[in-house]
C-alpha cells in the first residue's frame, strides 16, 4: 500500500498491463499494482463491505444459539450461507484473503518507504530558489545591520523554531541565504501509524488463535474450578492448548442484586455483585474478591467476569416406590427482564418410570386471564413454579450428549390428570404435589441464586493496546505536523542590508504560513517594509492562506 503523505500526488502510474511480459516482469507488475494506493484503497473499501454480513447474520463463535435458531428457521438458506462462511465471516477464507492482501500491500509499501524516509532524513533542505517572491508567502525588510550578522540571526531564529538548516552555503559579507525545513516527523508519524496497524493485526490474530473464552453457571455457595469439564460453553482459539488452563478455583460465597422498586424503570437492576473466594493454584492461600460488572477478577493468564445471574428452584422428587429420586437446585434460565425463567428437571433414577419436568419459575408470580402466569418483578417476592410432567424414557442411556435445558420427549409421554388434560404442577415454596397414577411426589422446597461467570484469556492484548496507542500517536503526527520550508536571503545594498523571507507549505492543510514568515522576518530584520508580495490571499474563505487575525476576515463575504 502506498502510504499517503496527504500532500503530494501519487507517483506516476505503473505500466498499464502485462503485455507480453516474462514471469519476472509479470511478477513485478503484479507487485506494483498490489502495493499501489488505488489497490489499497479498493482493499480498504472491500474490507468495510466484507465486514457487513457479520453484523447481520448471527455468528457461530459469538451467538451459537442464535445461529442454530436461524438455521432452523431458514432450512433452505442455511446450507448456502454455511458454504459461503456467512456464519463465521471473520475467519472465513474471503475475509482473511482481503485483510491478508491488505497486510501484504501495507508491508510492501512501508519497507521501501522506510528507505526513502531514511535518505530524506539525511538530505539537507533544498537551497533557496532564485525567485523567492514567487513563493506563497514572501516578505522583505531593509536593515542597517551587517549581512553576516543578519544571517547569523536568521540561523538562530530558525533553529529556535525547530527548523533544520542546510549547511552554510558560502555566504559572506555581500550576503547569502539560509534554507530551512521542518516537520520531518510527519512522515515518521505516517510510517509509525502503518507499522502500528500491522502490529495490532498480528497481536489480534495471536489473541484469537491462542486465547479462549468460556462460560459457566455456578450456584451461590458452590465452587468452580478451571478445567474443561466445568464449562457450560467453551470457545477456544484454534491453536489453544487446554493444558495451559490456569489451575484456578473459586467459590461463590454470596450474591447480591438490587432492583429499582418503583417508577418507570421498575425492575431494572441497579447493581449486582458476587463475593468470591479464589485460589490461583490449589496450594496458594485463598483470597477474596467482589465480582461486579466492570469489576472483573484479573489474574495472570486468566480473567473472571460476572456476566449474569438467575434462579434455581430447589425441589425434592420422590418416585412411585417412595424412594428419593432427586433433591436439590435446578438451574432455570431467565427469559426476560422480569426473570420469568425456563428450566428442565430430569429424574433418571425415578422408578418405575423415568420422570421429566419442564416449566417456568416466576420470582414474583402474577396471573391474568389474558397473559396466563407471568412475573411482575425480577426479585423474589412471591415465588412460584409451574411445571409440566413427562413419563417414559429420558433417552439418557444412549450415550448421546444432551442439553440440560432441553427435554428429549421422543420416548416420553405427558402425564395427564384424571380429566385427561395435561397435569400441571403449580407450586409455592413448601407445596407438595402428588403425581397421578402413583408416579411419585414433587415438593418445591425453595430457591437459590446462581451466577454466570465468564472465564477468558486473550494473550497479546498488551501488545495490541501498545499498538493502537502508538498508532494514534503516529496518526496525529501524520495529520497535524506541518511540513514547511522557509528561506531567508540577505543581500547587501550599499550600506543597507535587504532581507527576504519566503515560506512554502508542503501540506495541504497548512495554516498561518504568512504569519510565520512575518514573525521570522521581524525577529531577523525588524518590521517589514511592505505588504506581502507573493500570492495574494484568495477570496476571504481560504483558511489556508488568510491568517486568522485578518481584520473582519469572517465578515468579508
Amino acid at each position: 500500500m502506498t502510504i499517503p503523505t496527504l500532500e503530494t500526488t501519487a507517483p506516476p502510474e505503473p505500466p498499464r498491463g502485462p503485455s507480453a511480459l516474462g514471469p519476472v516482469e509479470l511478477g513485478r507488475w503484479a507487485w506494483r499494482r498490489l502495493t499501489s494506493m488505488r489497490t489499497a484503497l479498493l482493499l480498504l473499501l472491500l474490507l468495510a463491505l466484507a465486514s457487513i454480513p457479520g453484523s447481520v447474520v448471527p455468528q457461530q463463535n459469538i451467538a451459537a444459539v442464535r445461529v442454530s435458531q436461524w438455521k432452523e428457521d431458514h432450512p433452505t438458506l442455511a446450507p448456502v450461507y454455511d458454504a459461503l462462511g456467512l456464519f463465521s465471516v471473520y475467519d472465513s477464507v474471503w475475509f482473511s484473503a482481503i485483510y491478508l492482501l491488505l497486510m501484504v500491500s501495507l508491508v510492501g509499501c512501508i519497507v521501501p518507504r522506510l528507505g526513502v524516509y531514511w535518505r530524506f532524513l539525511r538530505a539537507a533542505p533544498p537551497p533557496a530558489p532564485r525567485n523567492l517572491q514567487r513563493l506563497p508567502a514572501y516578505r522583505t525588510v531593509t536593515t542597517p545591520d551587517a549581512a553576516d550578522l543578519v544571517l547569523a540571526r536568521a540561523r538562530t531564529v530558525l533553529r529556535k523554531s525547530r527548523y533544520r538548516l542546510a549547511a552554510d552555503d558560502g555566504s559572506g559579507p555581500a550576503g547569502g541565504s539560509v534554507a530551512a525545513e521542518r516537520g520531518y516527523l510527519r512522515e515518521a508519524g505516517n510510517l509509525l501509524f502503518h507499522l502500528a496497524v500491522v502490529v495490532v493485526l498480528l497481536a489480534f490474530a495471536f489473541g484469537q488463535l491462542f486465547g479462549f473464552k468460556g462460560g459457566a453457571i455456578v450456584l451461590v455457595g458452590k465452587g468452580f474450578s478451571n478445567s474443561l469439564t466445568q464449562y457450560d460453553d467453551f470457545a477456544p482459539g484454534s491453536m489453544f492448548d487446554p493444558e495451559t488452563l490456569r489451575p484456578l478455583s473459586l467459590e461463590v460465597e454470596d450474591f447480591e442484586v438490587e432492583f429499582i422498586a418503583s417508577g418507570p424503570q421498575r425492575g431494572q437492576p441497579i447493581d449486582f455483585s458476587a463475593d468470591v473466594t479464589y485460589r490461583e493454584t490449589p496450594s496458594s492461600a485463598p483470597r477474596k474478591h467482589r465480582l461486579e460488572v466492570n469489576e472483573p477478577l484479573v489474574l495472570d493468564g486468566v480473567s473472571v467476569f460476572l456476566i449474569g445471574h438467575g434462579y434455581a428452584p430447589v425441589v425434592t422428587v420422590r418416585d412411585g416406590n417412595g424412594g428419593l429420586a432427586y433433591q436439590g437446585p435446578v438451574v432455570f434460565l431467565p427469559q426476560d427482564a422480569s426473570f420469568a425463567s425456563f428450566g428442565v428437571l430430569k429424574v433418571p433414577d425415578a422408578q418405575p418410570e423415568q420422570l421429566g419436568f419442564e416449566g417456568m419459575f416466576f420470582p414474583t408470580y402474577a396471573f391474568t386471564m389474558d397473559r396466563g402466569p407471568f412475573s411482575v418483578f425480577p426479585d423474589v417476592r412471591n415465588p412460584a413454579i409451574s411445571l409440566l410432567a413427562w413419563r417414559g424414557d429420558l433417552g439418557m442411556d444412549s450415550g448421546d450428549s444432551q442439553s440440560v435445558f432441553e427435554l428429549d420427549t421422543d420416548r416420553m409421554e405427558k402425564v395427564t390428570g384424571a380429566d385427561g388434560k395435561d397435569f400441571r404442577l403449580d407450586m409455592q415454596p413448601g407445596d407438595r404435589v402428588e403425581l397421578p397414577d402413583g408416579l411419585g411426589t414433587v415438593r418445591f422446597d425453595g430457591w437459590q441464586r446462581w451466577v454466570r461467570i465468564q472465564v477468558s484469556d486473550t494473550p497479546g492484548k498488551g501488545v495490541a493496546l501498545a499498538g493502537v496507542v502508538l498508532g494514534l500517536v503516529g496518526l496525529m503526527g501524520s495529520l497535524f505536523i506541518r511540513r514547511r520550508r522557509t528561506w531567508v536571503r540577505v543581500t547587501r545594498r550599499g550600506d543597507e542590508t535587504f532581507v527576504e523571507v519566503a515560506g512554502l507549505d508542503r501540506t495541504t492543510a497548512g495554516e498561518g504560513l504568512d504569519e510565520e514568515v512575518r514573525r521570522v522576518l521581524a525577529l531577523v530584520g525588524g518590521v517589514p517594509d511592505g505588504p506581502t508580495v507573493g500570492r495574494a490571499p484568495a477570496h476571504g474563505v481560504d483558511p489556508d492562506t488568510v491568517p486568522d487575525s485578518h481584520p473582519r476576515a469572517d465578515e468579508e463575504r
Binding site: 499517503p4 473499501l45 486465547g211 496518526l475 469572517d554
Partner: protein, 319 residues
C-alpha cells in the same frame, strides 16, 4: 433542587433551545432569501454593463449587503443563545438522577448531547473556518433532531444499567460524541462540495451556490474537520471501546454489530484520507467516500439500536 426539578428543568431548557433554534433558522432563511434577491440582478448587471464606465456599486446594493450580514449575525447570536439553553438542558439532565451521572445513558440523551456537540463544533470553528454559510443547515439540523428526540426517543431520566457503571462511559461515549460532531460538519462540507461541483459542471449559475465558499475551501474544510474527527474516532472506537469491553465483557473485540460498524466507519474514513491523496480519487470521489463514512456512522447510531436491539451487546443504549 430535587432530581424531579432537574428533570423538568432539563425538558424545559431543551424545549426553549428548540424554539430559539427555530428563530435562528428563520434568521438564516431571511439571510439566504435576501442574498438571492440581491445577487441575481447584480450578476445580470455585471453581464450587461461592459460598456458602462460606472463601477461604483449603487447604494441600494450596499444596504442590502448590510441587511444580509445583519440577518446572518442575528442567526449566529440566536444559535449561541440556543446552544446555552441546550447546554443547560444537557447539564441539568445529568442531575436528574440520584446519583448524578453523564447525560448519555440512553438514546434520547445521546441524541440530545450529540446534537449539542454539533452546535458546539460549529460555533467553535465559526470564526476560524468561516462557517457562517453553515448556519442555515446547522440550525435546521438541530430543529429536526431535537424534535425527533422529543417525539420518538423521549425517556424519563433514570439510573444507569449496571453495565454502564464505569468511568469509561464518560471517556468512550464522550469522545464518540465529539468525533460525531466533527464528522457531521465534514459531511456537510462534502455534501455542499459535491453540489457545487455538479453546478459548476453544468455551467455555474449565480444563486444559492454563491452563498457557499468555493469548492477548494470546502474540500479543505471537510479534510480538516475529518482529520480531527478521525483520531478522535480512533480513540473512541478502537482504544477506549476495546479497553472497556475487555473490562466488562472479558475480551476487547467481540464483533458485536456496533463494533463492526464502528470498524466499518473507521475503515471508510481511512479510505477517505487515502483517497484524498490519490490522483483520480481526489475531490469528488473522496467527498463521496466521506459521505458514505458519515452514513455508516449514522446507521451505527440509529440502525443498530433499532434493528438489532437485543442482538447487540450495546443494546442498553436502546430506544
Amino acid at each position: 433542587m430535587s432530581t424531579a426539578d432537574f428533570a423538568s428543568f432539563s425538558d424545559n431548557a431543551i424545549m426553549f433551545a428548540s424554539i430559539v433554534y427555530v428563530l435562528a433558522l428563520i434568521a438564516h432563511v431571511v439571510e439566504w432569501s435576501l442574498s438571492l434577491t440581491v445577487r441575481e440582478p447584480a450578476a445580470v448587471r455585471a453581464a450587461t454593463s461592459d460598456s458602462s464606465v460606472d463601477v461604483a456599486p449603487p447604494p441600494r446594493e450596499e444596504t442590502a449587503a448590510l441587511r444580509i450580514d445583519t440577518a446572518g449575525r442575528i442567526g449566529v447570536a440566536l444559535t449561541a443563545v440556543a446552544a446555552l439553553l441546550h447546554l443547560a438542558g444537557v447539564v441539568s439532565r445529568a442531575f436528574a438522577t440520584e446519583p448524578a451521572r453523564v447525560p448519555w445513558g440512553n438514546m434520547y440523551e445521546f441524541t440530545v448531547t450529540g446534537a449539542l456537540g454539533v452546535t458546539l463544533v460549529y460555533l467553535a470553528l465559526l470564526r476560524r473556518m468561516w462557517l457562517r454559510w453553515m448556519g442555515l443547515f446547522v440550525t435546521a439540523f438541530e430543529v429536526v433532531v431535537l424534535m425527533a428526540a422529543n417525539l420518538l426517543l423521549e425517556q424519563q431520566a433514570g439510573q444507569l444499567v449496571p453495565a454502564l457503571h464505569s468511568y469509561w462511559l464518560v471517556i468512550h461515549v464522550g469522545t464518540a460524541i465529539l468525533a460525531t460532531g466533527a464528522f457531521a460538519v465534514g459531511a456537510l462540507a462534502s455534501l455542499v462540495f459535491l453540489l457545487q461541483e455538479r453546478a459548476t459542471r453544468r455551467g455555474a449559475r449565480p444563486g444559492l451556490l454563491a452563498m457557499f465558499p468555493d469548492s477548494d475551501a470546502l474540500d479543505r474544510l471537510a479534510y480538516r474537520v475529518n482529520a480531527v474527527g478521525f483520531p478522535l474516532w480512533t480513540f473512541a472506537a478502537l482504544i477506549a471501546g476495546p479497553i472497556w469491553a475487555e473490562h466488562a465483557w472479558g475480551s476487547y473485540w467481540n464483533w458485536d454489530p456496533k463494533e463492526v460498524w464502528a470498524f466499518i466507519t473507521w475503515v471508510i474514513y481511512a479510505a477517505y484520507l487515502h483517497a484524498r491523496a490519490t490522483a483520480g480519487w481526489k475531490g469528488k470521489a473522496a467527498a463521496i467516500i466521506a459521505l458514505i463514512g458519515f452514513a455508516s456512522l449514522l446507521w451505527n447510531f440509529v440502525g443498530i439500536n433499532f434493528f438489532f436491539g437485543a442482538g447487540s451487546m450495546h443494546s442498553y443504549a436502546g430506544s
